[in-house]
């Protein structure tokens, strides 16, 4: 272990090996924290029941409800209840957590929220730990220097039963963002810019490590936005080495280490950074100062352009031609000024307090354009409470936007928050796939500031002209 320089991922990987990989077998990797939700866990619990297996480490498992639950209020002023099959998923999660002793933050609990928002805000996300969840955006937790990645339902069952996964070590891919982001350019623009550059399969098989001065200057919430969309670049995990910003964020959170344990933990975490000369399988340098506010024009997160850019020529690329056709766009058109129907501000990418503050800064004293529906969905009950304490909910309501209960909502349209066929949305979420936000719906991915500007103008706009 001593002697040769190791990367951040090497260090986490090696400290979690129950058994190392060989040519014949993958490594048995220990999982520190397993997050579960109502949509990808029921079949895994069914497997445990069928094999008469317990949850091995219920205390390392945390459950919440986020994907399928409604975020609107019912007639009684409380969150509307899930109905039909979604209600069955909610009930199944309650039953499974009760029967297997798993802690659950259900709807109605003041710690409920999107699974990747509550982990960090509760202080469960620790630097140097391994974190998995049956959700591809588990990469979010990498912002703390954790090795965090999404898994399928079979693997959810493996972790429930054994607290371990069979894994091959991912290759490493360092992306250095040099310089600083320009004013009006956000963390969302940074990651959309990277994905536009390397493509949605650009980091397949790799864990990304985000480095450089522009990353160091980001807040924890901004780092989470960046790491969140690692999967949109094909990487299962994306990490930022922990620093003072990380420790300051975690300090005092409910599940963060306390007193002497805290000092010991920080001392440990300080050793996690990739060693000088640590060998990455791939390296890329990006000039952060050259990045601009980004927006996607197509049906893949890699189809991004500067907000002031024009729709590219697809050439002979069938996928890009199909994307243009689905989006109803022509090559050479500017997106600026294009009419939109819906604005969605939320999702595990951009539903934290700083995201809501950014959106509110644009919306304060302004109105959502006539004919535009604007949804603001806080990421968690804690975010909602803090936003309301700052009066952000009033800013949104007075502008004519809807202020919702926490959940995944229109990011994936599993509940009743959906685009109608043909509608255009500017969304702060992470995926613009065909029908992702509702059958036939068409999504432009952008930052909270760009989304808020679009809400006010009723068309795609450059928020830098509105501050």
């Amino acid at each position: 272990m001593q002697g040769h320089p190791r990367t951040l991922v090497d260090k986490i990987w090696e400290s979690h090996l129950v058994s190392a990989e060989t040519a014949e077998t993958p490594a048995v990797l220990y999982v520190d924290l397993h997050l579960i939700h109502e949509v990808t866990s029921p079949q895994a619990f069914a497997e445990l029941r069928a094999r008469k297996l317990p949850v091995r480490r219920a205390e390392r498992t945390v459950a919440t409800m986020d994907h399928a639950i409604p975020t609107r209020l019912g007639a009684d002023g409380r969150r509307a209840a899930a109905e039909g099959a979604a209600a069955e998923q909610v009930t199944a999660l309650e039953r499974n957590c009760r029967d297997f002793g798993v802690p659950l933050y259900p709807v109605g609990d003041d710690r409920q929220g999107i699974v990747h928002v509550i982990g960090p805000e509760l202080g469960l996300t620790h630097p140097g730990s391994t974190i998995v969840c049956g959700d591809s955006h588990t990469s979010t937790h990498g912002a703390f220097g954790a090795l965090a990645f999404g898994i399928g339902t079979s693997e959810v069952g493996h972790v429930l039963a054994t607290q371990c996964l069979l894994q091959r070590r991912p290759k490493s891919f360092a992306v250095e963002f040099s310089g600083q982001l320009a004013t009006g350019v956000t963390a969302k623009d940074l990651i959309l810019g990277l994905i536009a550059q390397i493509g949605t399969a650009g980091a397949t098989g790799h864990a990304l490590e985000y480095r450089g001065s522009a990353i160091r200057s980001l807040s924890m919430e901004e780092r989470m936005t960046v790491c969140n969309m690692s999967i949109e670049a094909g990487a299962r995990a994306g990490l930022v080495a922990p620093d003072e910003t990380t420790y300051e964020y975690l300090s005092g959170r409910p599940f963060a280490p306390k007193t002497a344990d805290w000092e010991a933990a920080v001392a440990r975490w300080r050793k996690l950074s990739s060693d000088e000369g640590g060998a990455f399988d791939r390296e890329l340098r990006v000039d952060a100062a050259a990045l601009q506010p980004m927006i996607t024009w197509g049906t893949s997160p890699g189809m991004g352009i500067p907000v002031r850019g024009v729709v590219p020529d697809p050439g002979g690329d069938a996928s890009r031609q199909k994307a243009l056709c689905y989006m109803g766009l022509e090559p050479g058109q500017p997106l600026l000024g294009r009419k939109i129907d819906v604005v969605f501000i939320g999702s595990c990418t951009n539903s934290r307090l700083s995201d809501l503050r950014e959106a509110a800064r644009v919306l304060r004293g302004r109105r959502v354009a006539a004919g535009v529906k604007a949804l603001v969905v806080p990421g968690s009950q804690q975010v909602k409470k803090q936003a309301e304490a700052e009066g952000l909910d009033r800013v949104f309501r007075e502008a004519g936007a809807e202020w919702r209960e926490p959940g995944c909502s229109m990011c994936l349209a599993m509940n009743d928050d959906r685009l109608l066929p043909g509608q255009y949305a500017v969304s702060t979420s992470n995926r613009n796939f065909e029908g992702r936000q509702g059958q036939g719906g068409r999504t432009f991915l952008a930052s909270p500031t760009t989304a808020a500007a679009a809400a006010v103008k009723g068309e795609i706009a450059d928020a830098r002209e509105m501050s």
Binding site: E47, R57, G134, I151, T162
Partner: protein, 248 residues
């Protein structure tokens, strides 16, 4: 003995929507014979697994879906994930491409054409299965009779999910993918042990993680292997100490 509700690996080769047939445990679990043929150290790898249908050779004509970056939202839209079961997901497969807004099959979509009937090998464009971690994408493909997907690249989570259910991700080079795409309906033979895909006069090899290959050939699942490592896991936990957080 039947095991209704077992892994959808036991889906028979069939056109879209045919029901699942479950083989007997005995016929699905030809462990001893297969072990003898493998270059592994059996003492190290032998573990009592949940019986799943071993997969050695897949023979089928192909159906070609010539799209790059087919994401899991296209394979099965999120509205079909509102279920607590692995079964019954076939209706959701490529739902927004297969059916119009009124639920009528779109005749021009490749999977709706008569020649797609009975195909168990899907030839797709680059970067198949990107996006969400939903294993429902694999279950939906299997529910419609698919046993293998061919692409130049697979998203990491999709590949892992596929292998855990016995859906074979066959990664080929650009030239092979282009040739296969140009010959929809071509008879294809995929040999799991050899790691080869053959059609016409051509044969090309594809990578397959050795442990996954072993599990596929022997009808074994990873969970059983992990459970067999109980002593090592316990030792790791003892050395690592208690959970690093305390509720407050």
């Amino acid at each position: 003995m039947s095991f209704r509700g077992a892994h959808p690996r036991n889906v028979t080769r069939n056109p879209l929507f045919r029901r699942v047939r479950f083989p007997s445990v005995e016929s699905a679990f030809g462990l001893a014979d297969s072990l003898a043929r493998l270059p592994f150290r059996p003492g190290r790898l032998l573990f009592q697994g949940t019986p799943m249908k071993p997969i050695s050779v897949i023979r089928s004509h192909s159906v070609v879906l010539p799209m790059d970056n087919v994401d899991t939202d296209q394979i099965i839209p999120a509205r079909f994930l509102v279920t607590t079961s692995r079964d019954g997901l076939g209706q959701g497969l490529f739902a927004d491409w297969r059916f119009d807004a009124f639920g009528r099959p779109r005749p021009d979509f490749v999977l709706n054409r008569p020649e797609a009937r009975g195909a168990s090998v899907l030839v797709a464009g680059r970067n198949f299965g990107c996006g969400s971690s939903r294993e429902h994408a694999v279950w939906a493909l299997q529910a419609c009779g698919f046993e293998a997907v061919v692409s130049t690249a697979f998203a990491d989570i999709f590949r892992a999910n596929a292998l855990k259910n016995g859906l074979l991700p066959v990664q080929v080079d650009e030239a092979t993918q282009a040739d296969l795409s140009a010959a929809p309906g071509a008879p294809v033979v995929i040999d799991v042990a050899a790691g080869t895909l053959s059609f016409g006069e051509q044969s090309s090899s594809f990578p397959l993680e050795p442990f996954a290959r072993y599990c596929l050939l022997n009808g074994l699942d990873e969970l059983s292997f992990l459970l067999s490592r109980e002593a090592e896991i316990t030792a790791f936990e003892a050395a690592a100490g208690p959970v690093p957080w305390r509720s407050s």
